[in-house]
C-alpha cells in the first residue's frame, strides 16, 4: 500500500516560511511579563543559573540586575533574589518604567548552581528585563547557563 507521502519540497517550504520565534530566555538576558493577566499577586519566576569555567577562568560570583519596564504603579515593584548555599541577596528596581536597571547583586558563591527568584510586590502585570553573568574574581565573564523552573 502506498504511503501518504507529501513531496519533499513541502518540508522545505514550511521551513522557509517559518519565522524565528525568540525564546523566553536568551543568552544571559531575559525579557518577559510577569502576571500578564494582572490577577496573580504570588506570580514568581524561579530559575537556576550554573556558573562554570568555560576557559575564561573559574567563576567567583553571579552578577545580576533587573529592570521593571512597566509604567509606575503605586506599591507595585519588581524584586530579584539570588541564593546559593547559605548565602542570599536581594534587590528591588525602585523606579518602574525608566531606562535604569536596579543596582546589581553580586553573590560570591564560586562555581556551581545558583537559584534566582524574581517576584513583585502586588497584583499587576510587570514587563521586565533581567541580566545575569557569572564572573571571575578579575571581573571577566565566564561560563553561564540558565534553566527556568517556574514562571507563574
Amino acid at each position: 500500500m502506498a504511503a501518504a507521502v507529501t513531496p519533499l519540497k513541502s518540508f522545505a517550504l514550511a521551513a522557509a516560511l517559518s519565522l524565528a520565534v525568540p525564546p523566553a530566555v536568551l543568552a544571559h538576558s531575559a525579557s518577559a511579563t510577569m502576571d500578564p493577566a494582572g490577577n496573580t499577586p504570588t506570580f514568581t519566576g524561579l530559575a537556576r543559573v550554573t556558573c562554570f569555567d568555560d576557559g575564561s577562568g573559574p567563576p567567583a560570583l553571579l552578577y545580576a540586575h533587573v529592570r521593571d519596564n512597566s509604567p509606575p504603579v503605586n506599591g507595585l515593584l519588581v524584586n530579584l533574589q539570588i541564593l546559593k548555599g547559605t548565602q542570599a541577596l536581594s534587590i528591588t528596581d525602585p523606579v518602574s518604567g525608566d531606562a535604569n536597571y536596579s543596582d546589581a547583586l553580586q553573590l560570591q558563591g564560586g562555581a556551581g548552581v545558583y537559584t534566582l527568584i524574581l517576584n513583585k510586590t502586588a497584583t499587576g502585570a510587570r514587563s521586565f528585563d533581567i541580566e545575569y553573568h557569572c564572573l571571575t574574581a578579575a571581573g571577566d565573564h565566564t561560563g553561564t547557563d540558565i534553566i527556568v523552573d517556574q514562571f507563574k
Binding site: 504511503a3 522545505a12 517559518s18 556551581g112
Partner: protein, 248 residues
Amino acid sequence: MSHRCHIRPLPLALAMLMTASLAQAHTTLETPAMSEGVRVLNNEQIGHACGAGTSVIGTSVVFPDGKDSTLLVNGAPYNGTLSDFISNWGPNIQPLLNHAVFNYIDEKNDANGNVVGFQAGGGAGMPDHMVAYVPFRVNATNFNPASCATSVKFHVSIVDICKITDGTHIHDAGVANFWTSNTLSTNYDSSSASEDAASLTINRNLAANPLPASCGGVGTSVDVRNSALQLNRDMPIRINGTTVWPQP
C-alpha cells in the same frame, strides 16, 4: 602483470565493504560521553538515509527532560527524581545555527522556554551514502554532591525523516529511521529488538566532586529515558504552532 590482476579488484571490494559498513551506522552523538562541569560542542551524527536513492530531509531530536523521565539506578527502576543525581538538568543543550545540511534548525522548548531538543529540515538533505553532522552544544552539567552517582546516561530519542507522512505511515519502508527506545509504547518507538536510542553520558568529576562518605566508595550508574508523555509531546516537528511532521 599477475599482481595487477589481483590488486585492482581490491580497492573496489574495500569500497563496497566500507559502503556496506557505513550503511549500518546508527545515528548517534559525535561525542557520547563528557565530564561533569564542562561545556562541550557536539553533533548529531546522521549515519545514513532510508535506503538507496533516499535522503534524510529532516531530523527530530528529543532529550529526556528529567521531569517525568524513567530512571534506572544500576539497572534497577528508581522512583525518585533526576535531581537526586543531577543538580541542573534543563536539559542542558542548545542547537547551533548551521545551514550546511538543512535550511532550517530550531529549538524544541518546554512551557518555560527550556530547550528539550531540536529539529532541522529543508533543503536537499543528506543522501543515503553520506554522513552528516547537526551541531549542538551541551552545557555544563553538575552532579548532586550528596548522591553516589558516578555516571548518568541520557538516552536521546532521534527520528531521521526521509519522507513526510502522517502518523500511520511513519514506520513504512523508506520513510524514516527511529533511533529511539523500543519500550516506551509510543508511535516513535524503534521497532528493533534492541535499544536504538543515541546516548549522552555525563561522568562525575570525582576530583572536584568526590563521593560522600556514605557511599562507601562505591559509585552508581544512572540511566535516563524519555517518558512516553514527553516523547509524544516533543517529537513532532512544529513550526510556529503548526505540526509539519508527522502530518495531522
